[in-house]
Amino acid sequence: MLKKLIVFLLIGTLGYTLAVTFSSIPIGANRIGSLDNPETVAAYYLDKSPNDLKVANTITAVVVNFRGFDTLGEVSVLFLAATGLASILYRKEEEEEEEENKRHISHRLNLPSSSLVQTGAKILFPLILLLGIYVFIHGHLTPGGGFQGGAIIATGFLLMLVSYKGFKNNHKIMVWLESLAGLGFVGVGLYGLIRYGSFLQNTGWTGNLNDLVSGGLIPLIYIFVGIKVATELTNVLDILLNIKSRRK
């Protein structure tokens, strides 16, 4: 009872504080200021992104160029999450057999899905991969980018994992792809460090606005991020789905 009271008091205080704070911030007001004489970060980004970097999608420019180091950290957090998941859920064979004897898992989980689902998945899978690759290659031109494209590709793998019980990812290729993508990201950063004197520094060459090859190193970095996110999410799904099907 006391716990309930404390919780409601806490929630009420939080809600009230947030409401009071945000009621003084008008929605839809222009807080960016003029772009010709940028005084805010947003105005600086909106000014620099199309004019200096020639990147159409300002958010990509912010994520990959202006805050590129942050994105490298973000990718490592994702990698750590995948590794942590694998290490927490890893168990030895004997342990599994013991568990299997203790409880009977529903046999439904081990049945294959219907042929309708399997045929549909087979047709959709390459198209989903294509869409994902399109999204991360065009990350600097259209809404989307490495993280979104990677997530789309992982949904394709999820579809295959759900519809085919025997579907196995080639772990060797996955690990290699992931490592190479991560190394590629760091390599691009080191290239900037050696060539221009600061980590992840973009090249001077930027191309034209709205060209596929524009923005210097930004598309390259987002392709690496896309591959890395796709393989990591696929690994996470693979681990989570194989907890049960591993015991036969």
């Binding site: 809600g15 945000f22 929605i27 999608n57 958010i59 994702l78």
Partner: protein
């Protein structure tokens, strides 16, 4: 465009209450679930709901009435003056990915706890209680 602006000005108070209200309600509901629910999976769902509320709050702060997405697509090259704030959107992109990582790790811990104790009720997971 002008019609939208006029409509937005007309209903500004209502929109403010609706957007901020939804975001704050999501945060509060998520916190309630985290603090009061007994089932571990429900607690993780509460964390995700809180995440969604915070993302909504971020994007709402960055909105500028009548603004377009901050993308200089063909035919839109000189529209920089009427674009919404790109900074909160970039931060939300980061926050979504971190939220995913947190959820995945939390769920794996839940699975491990469930396998060890054969229950996901936090009241029964009392082996560390003293």
């Amino acid at each position: 465009m002008m019609e939208f602006q006029a409509l937005f000005e007309q209903y500004r108070d209502l929109i403010t209450i609706a957007v901020y209200g939804t975001a704050i309600a999501l945060i509060v509901i998520g916190l309630y679930a985290v603090l009061m629910k007994k089932h571990l999976v429900k607690i993780v769902i509460g964390l995700s709901i809180m995440d969604a509320g915070i993302h909504l709050l971020f994007v709402a702060i960055g909105y500028i009435s009548g603004g377009t997405a901050p993308i200089f697509s063909p035919g839109n090259e000189n529209a920089g003056a009427r674009m919404v704030d790109p900074v909160p959107q970039a931060l939300v992109l980061t926050a979504i990915v971190i939220g995913f990582a947190v959820t995945a790790l939390a769920l794996s811990l839940v699975i491990r706890l469930y396998k060890h104790h054969h229950t996901a009720n936090i009241d029964q997971l009392n082996s560390l209680k003293w």
